[in-house]
């Protein structure tokens, strides 16, 4: 018997504000959450969402995850607790770096005041699995819970893994997504030192003038449930995780393989997993980082995976043009953005796209959202996420 993972709730905290639908509406309207070269989740006030104790006992990346999870669970109608057996409810949340703000702060304490003054909360706050653990604890999710760590693919890996937990029968529902809060002095300086960050502070994926990514922070959380169980309890079904695949470039520590070989393979396998063809895909939510290398290799990958003809027809846009790069949260936030775009049958825009680059000739939906021309066809899209280390993760989503 096939066990299908359906999406019943979404929540997000992003540079465009608090709320998954806020993200979708503001991005679709062409608004940007990037200010002064950073995509900060500046509308997020921790104590609006969390108790003093929760705030004190969590790094910012966990705080963001807790707030997004709260929204997602309410959206799924889980206000009264998990609808099914808590033992069969899992929690998988990815992050690129984890609690690096805590790590940096405590290192300063150690240097200036000595080891005796280090907070006993240091490790539980900074560990990369903290968001998964704390969200599970807060909502009494007693099935599997762990973090996924694959740099900027972590959020997509989490969702893909969550979908598999349901399909395999390990869980009946999963709270899943990604979270990141790495706009810290060390992380910012380190990304800058490797020439990954934009000097101009402008996120303009696929544009000829793109010069690196803009750092962002935030979290995206989804509630996945097994379809029959969801229907039985009368849940509203937002959409489906139809396919998922993951590959490795096995090429370079940070640079994507130029031909997009690994990324293309991941797209192909995700379509195969979803049992759909390239012609069925009506929207591509690109990884689109605004780095010279990614946007070129990703364009290649989309052409290889979908075929030149389909690739030239399907709208391809980058959420990062509006919020920057949310690293380990990106794959999850963008999966949510993809789902909500598909639900509204709209392709949100790639902001700041003005000057085409040689060979980057897909339909990037420049600057203005556009209705999807899918007619009566299924609302199927893919969301790409690629990470340092050569990790490629692709989700194939369908809106109901």
């Amino acid at each position: 018997m096939t066990r299908t993972p359906v999406i019943t709730g979404v929540g997000a905290v992003t540079p465009l504000g608090v709320g998954a639908r806020t993200l979708h509406e503001r991005w679709t309207a062409g608004r940007s959450g990037i200010e002064d070269g950073f995509g900060r989740a500046s509308e997020f006030e921790p104590t609006d969402h969390l108790s003093i104790k929760e705030v004190r006992r969590s790094d910012r990346f966990t705080q963001l995850a807790l707030a997004a999870a709260q929204e997602a669970l309410e959206d799924a109608g889980w206000d009264g607790g998990t609808p099914g057996d808590p033992d069969r409810t899992a929690c998988v949340i990815g992050t690129g770096i984890g609690g690096i703000g805590t790590l940096e702060g405590q290192h300063i304490v150690m240097r200036d005041q000595g080891a005796e003054r280090i907070s006993p909360l240091s490790i539980p706050l900074l560990m990369a699995n903290a968001a998964a653990g704390v969200v599970a604890m807060k909502h009494d999710l007693r099935g599997q819970s762990f973090g996924t760590v694959s740099a900027c693919a972590a959020g997509a890996h989490a969702i893909g893994t969550a979908a598999r937990l349901i399909a395999y029968g390990d869980a009946d529902s999963v709270v899943t997504g990604g979270s990141e809060a790495a706009i810290t002095p060390l992380a910012t300086a380190a990304f800058a030192k490797m020439d990954a960050l934009s000097d101009s502070g402008i996120s303009r994926p696929f544009d000829r003038r793109r010069d690196g990514f803009v750092m962002g922070e935030g979290a995206g959380i989804l509630v996945l449930e097994e379809e029959e169980a969801a229907k039985e309890r009368g849940a509203r079904i937002l959409g489906y995780v139809r396919g998922y695949a993951s590959t490795s470039d096995a090429h370079h520590l940070t640079a994507p393989e130029p031909s997009g070989r690994g990324a293309a393979k991941a797209i192909e396998l995700a379509l195969k997993d979803a049992d759909v063809s390239a012609d069925d895909i009506v929207y591509v939510n690109a990884h689109g980082t605004s780095t010279p290398l990614n946007d070129r290799s990703e364009t290649n990958a989309i052409k290889v995976a979908l075929g030149e003809e389909r690739a030239s027809q399907v709208p391809v846009s980058s959420t990062k043009s509006a919020i920057g790069h949310l690293l380990g949260a990106a794959g999850a936030v963008e999966a949510i953005a993809t789902l909500l775009a598909l639900r509204d049958r709209i392709a949100p825009p790639t902001l700041n796209y003005e000057e085409p680059d040689d060979g980057l000739d897909l339909d990037y939906v420049p600057n203005e959202a556009r209705p999807l021309q899918n007619g009566d066809a299924r609302a199927l899209g893919i969301s790409n996420a690629f990470g340092f280390g050569g990790h490629n993760a692709v989700l194939c989503l369908e809106a109901s």
Binding site: S51, I52, K53, E54, V55, R56, R57, E116, R117, S119, P120, L121, P124
Partner: protein, 82 residues
């Protein structure tokens, strides 16, 4: 660092710390048990760091064993004042 801290001063400082830890202010009293205040062993390590820094009192893990109420913690600090 003070060697003339009064019991009241220490109690007020401990109360303030517990409030920062997230305990409900109107539930904090000398008789309140840490467990009821949702203050756990990790919080108590931080409390020990605070009293060490402010009063020069060194508390080890075994000193805290058997300490269940806020008042007992204050007693402990008082007994160890340098």
């Amino acid at each position: 660092m003070s060697t003339t801290a009064t019991r009241q001063e220490i109690e007020q400082r401990v109360f303030k710390a517990l409030e920062e830890f997230g305990a409900e202010p109107d539930q904090i009293s000398p008789d309140a048990e840490f467990e009821a205040l949702d203050v756990d062993s990790l919080d108590l390590v931080e409390l020990a760091q605070i009293v060490e820094e402010e009063y020069g009192v060194q508390l080890k893990g075994e000193d805290m064993e058997g300490v269940k109420t806020v008042g007992q913690a204050v007693d402990l600090v008082m007994s160890k004042l340098p």
